[in-house]
Symmetry: C2
DNA sequence: ACGGCGACTGAACATCTGTTTAGTGTGCTG
DNA sequence: CAGCACACTAAACAGATGTTCAGTCGCCGT
């Protein structure tokens, strides 16, 4: 769990996994060499294949490890979550991330790789999150906390994808608005706008136009 | 412009650029070899470095080419665009893409790579789009088409990022809702929900107050 | 016809890649 | 203590990688 004390009492295998996670997240799987991972982990290249069979084995081990960490974010009681989300209090995935991981964690960046390199691990993760979002909205709907939608699947995908966008484009957003949206300050600024739009909309309902 | 007749009267240099664009978009810069690009383009590996100096040179040539194509999407008259966007008619970036590029175009996937890797080309592109989105909202605001926001920068980033998310997560979204959101059918389904949320919000206004 | 020039190629080169092999030390178990 | 399993390493290997080199071909102006 902790990534602050990387020189702690971790096993060499864990060191390798952590080094690979960080390097994969920063530069992508193919741009990172086994020798590099081994060097960062402070071991010999031969040891990483000894422990993980191959570079591909290491990759899937990291995928599984990261996937487990991500799923833990969503593993809260859904009913409780739905009740906490009354109207003006949308808990975004970004907030869950910032709450669970230390500031310098490579996990957000790894999620980006996972989702954008269309590998099966990312697809599976997205599928699970989509199902959970959809169910969450259904529950909130029954609580009267949401406006009903004519297309619940697309509505859920839209909200999920919007949340993920902040994670995926974190760096670009930070450069644009001047503050990292995953820091506390950035998050409150971001959340205020998200809440405003999700509550009242962004467009003026035009005076003469028809109301749907 | 045209990518339909790839075997047409294009110069070999253009063939190489196109092949690289497609392969880079599909599998990432580092996972593609010069020999592979040459093979797809039907030329020798030596020719690609003859024309582009190095693999890195080819990469930046492709970046520039793609960036030009992307910017062309936004190069419409802003005032006109703002007026077209009255309330229930938000023209998303995804729609601009689908309107400009043929279905099988590698450009959406390349945009994903561009924004995913933190290379300067992607950052510059996002910066330009952010500025344009912000100005568009400002214009729409003056036309009374939008609800004013307390934080225009974040509002613009939020809307831009939401649009981009559909492009970035296109495959996952397609798997989740059962239709590619960049096809006409997918776009109308998606746009309907986006419009609904942007117009009326997604949450019920606080319980006990004003149910529709 | 000729000379030059640029597109284009096959083969070679040095380097880097993931992986293998053979081996060293170390701690645990009988 | 003997035996053994396991973490770990240095060195080497085969193949792939980006790039270079020497040279061929075909076109175009003179």
């Amino acid at each position: 769990m902790s990534s602050v004390a990387d020189g702690g009492d971790l096993t060499a295998k864990a060191h390798i996994r952590n080094a690979a996670l960080r390097l994969f997240a920063e530069r992508g799987h193919d741009a990172v060499t086994v020798r590099e991972i081994a060097s960062v982990a402070g071991v010999s290249p031969a040891l990483v294949v000894h422990h993980f069979g191959s570079k591909e084995g290491l990759r899937s081990a990291v995928d599984e490890y990261a996937g487990r960490a991500f799923d833990a974010l969503f593993a809260m009681d859904e009913q409780e979550l739905a009740e906490a989300m009354t109207g003006d209090n949308w808990v975004s995935i970004g907030e869950l991330f910032a709450r669970a991981f230390p500031p310098g964690s490579p996990l957000p960046a790894y999620l980006r790789r996972l989702l954008l390199t269309n590998d099966p691990a990312g697809a599976a993760l997205f599928g699970r999150w989509f199902a959970q979002t959809r169910q969450l909205l259904e529950t909130m709907n029954q609580l009267g906390a949401t406006r009903p939608s004519g297309d619940p699947a697309v509505r859920a995908a839209f909200l999920l994808v919007n949340d993920l966008a902040v994670l995926l484009l974190r760096n670009q957003v930070a450069a644009a608005i001047g503050v990292d949206p995953l820091t506390p300050q950035g998050m409150t600024r971001w959340a205020k706008e998200v809440t405003a739009v999700y509550q009242d909309g962004a467009f003026a309902t035009s005076p003469g136009e028809e109301q749907r």
